[in-house]
């Protein structure tokens, strides 16, 4: 069976469990409605313009935050990885800032930007940035010593080394970092909307929650999940292109 079929089968299994579990009383159907009811709620919601606006806002926040986080994470990661002194100086601060929950930043961003998309973007960037940065740092440290010596001997300058040696070595890590960051960014976009009240799916979820509209809450959550699945499909496609040489990818394509 090919990959896509298996993937769809996996999702179908998941949906089926979601349908059966409440029906046989494994979870209370009133608070965890079966898949079919969620689907109906989703279909109803999809007929409203409000839903599509919210979806657009969330995707916008997400994409913007993710893009900033990835670029910043990669640039700073490669810089810190390539210049050990910078890392020695900043590592303790990084370790200190990293675990500060993005939730704790909510009052701060509200003060700065109010309930706007900008608030949420800041949260998204803050959370996703660390994911990328850390992966890049580890990736940069993974350069093969023989390959590094080769680059040094053949007079590759700092930039050429980054471009042709450090970057390709770190790339598998970066791809994982982006995949991690993509969902963290999505989570933070929705959470931010939920808590800060900036427009988007998160806000709709909160409104639905406060309105006791249980199937609608699940329908909106499903949309979040599907966005995550789409993001993964996209990063996997990118991975197959840019990491064609990597053992992880080529062994799968080959036999």
């Amino acid at each position: 069976m090919n990959r896509t079929a298996l993937s769809l089968l996996g999702l179908a299994t998941f949906a089926a469990i979601g349908e059966v579990a409440p029906r046989i009383g494994l979870v209370p159907a009133a608070y965890a409605p079966p898949t079919s009811r969620i689907a109906v709620a989703l279909a109803d919601e999809a007929a409203t313009g409000r839903f599509w606006l919210a979806l657009r806002d969330t995707v916008l926040t997400w994409a913007l935050g993710l893009a900033i986080a990835v670029v910043a994470g990669v640039v700073i990661g490669v810089l810190l990885g390539a210049v050990p002194v910078l890392w020695a100086v900043s590592s303790s601060t990084v370790e200190f800032l990293r675990p500060i929950p993005s939730v704790a930043l909510i009052p701060l961003v509200v003060v700065l930007y109010g309930s706007t998309i900008r608030s949420t973007v800041v949260l998204v960037v803050y959370a996703a940035f660390w994911q990328v940065l850390l992966q890049v740092l580890h990736g940069v440290a993974d350069v093969d010593p023989v390959a590094r010596d080769t680059a040094r001997v053949y007079g590759l300058g700092r930039w050429a080394r980054v471009r042709y040696l450090v970057w390709p070595t770190a790339l598998p890590y970066v791809v994982t970092g982006v995949r991690l960051a993509a969902s963290v960014a999505l989570i933070l976009a929705v959470t931010g909307e939920l808590v800060v009240g900036s427009p988007g799916l998160g806000k709709e979820i909160e409104v639905a929650r406060q309105s006791a509209a249980v199937p609608l809450v699940y329908a909106l959550v499903t949309v979040c999940g599907l966005l995550g699945v789409l993001a993964n499909v996209a990063t996997r496609a990118v991975e197959r292109r840019v990491l064609a040489w990597h053992a992880a990818v080529r062994t799968e394509v080959g036999t």
């Binding site: 209370p28 009133a30 608070y31 909510i106 509200v110 003060v111 800060v196 009240g197 309105s211 006791a212």
Partner: protein, 297 residues
């Protein structure tokens, strides 16, 4: 529009941001906006929803919102902690009628608990600890002859209370509309209208602004207050319009909207109830001093 911090430019509407929560309690402001009570006072109203008062108060103080909506006890606590806020008018009020309020203390169908005093030694869910709901439930227990100190409170968001109650994770919950309607539908038993037990016409929440805006632009604050009062009065006298407007900013289904109990929307704050809330909060240690009623307009 012009910057709301300075006196308004003649002929230009003031852009005013208000932080609210997307719940039943704020229906009047949506209704007032719809009815044009704000625009006719040259206010271009923009309503933003946040998850709770915790996010709204900083927003108002920092000037991100000009006005906000928060519960009475939170505002009293904030004032005591030196947060520069100033109430401008009432938000919503309990109906004052025992058994017919818009919120209540519920136990599971078939539970042996019949009175709040039976909750001693049991666990009750409140939306936020050490806030107005907890205070109200304590009042109910006390009134029924129990010792509130013996009740264990745990914090759960309103939407998650009913599932927890049904699954037996907690023994009692205090919910407001629309969860009250859901609780009734699920067969839960209402054993008290705790807001009523806390104080007569309990002012549950208020609209407020920052002290800074109150001094720098009293004209705007006055116009907002007037418009807000008109909205409250309108909501009070047009319950069907309230039920309709709920459909625009919440996702409460039409059937539930038709049935749910609405709070009261008097224009004025019931000072006595605020005093009473403050006193009881003080006796519980939530406030260290007597309530500072300078908060009120």
């Amino acid at each position: 529009g012009s910057s709301p911090d300075k006196p308004s430019t003649p002929g230009q509407p003031d852009a005013v941001d208000v932080g609210v929560i997307a719940i039943v309690d704020v229906a009047p402001i949506y209704l007032g906006k719809q009815q044009g009570f704000f625009s006719k006072r040259n206010i271009n109203l923009n309503l933003t929803t946040a998850q709770g008062g915790a996010a709204i108060v900083p927003g108002v103080v920092s000037g991100q919102y000009q006005f906000g909506f928060s519960n009475t006890l939170s505002l009293l606590v904030a004032t005591e902690k030196g947060v520069p806020v100033k109430a401008v008018c009432n938000g919503n009020t309990s109906t004052g009628k025992d058994g017919e309020d818009f919120g209540g203390l519920f136990v599971k169908a078939g539970s042996p608990i019949t009175s709040p005093k039976d909750l001693v030694g049991k666990t009750v869910a409140t939306n936020t600890l050490k806030n107005i709901v907890e205070l109200s439930v304590r009042a109910s227990v006390k009134k029924a002859g129990g010792d509130p100190a013996g009740v264990k409170f745990t914090e759960l968001p309103f939407p998650d209370m009913l599932p927890a109650l049904q699954a037996g994770r907690v023994d009692g919950v205090f919910v407001v509309e629309p969860f009250q309607a859901a609780a009734v539908a699920a067969g839960a038993k209402k054993i008290a209208s705790s807001f009523v037990d806390l104080a007569g016409n309990l002012t549950i929440s208020m609209y407020f602004t920052s002290k800074q805006l109150a001094t720098s632009n009293p004209d705007l604050v006055a116009r907002f207050t007037e418009a807000m009062k008109e909205s409250l009065a309108y909501a009070e006298s047009h319950p069907d319009d309230v039920r309709t407007v709920l459909g625009t900013y919440t996702q409460i289904s039409a059937e539930v909207r038709a049935k749910l109990t609405l709070p009261k929307f008097p224009a004025d704050i019931d000072k006595a109830s605020v005093q009473s809330v403050g006193d009881q909060a003080q006796s519980l240690g939530l406030l260290t001093k007597a309530p500072d009623l300078n908060l009120l307009p």
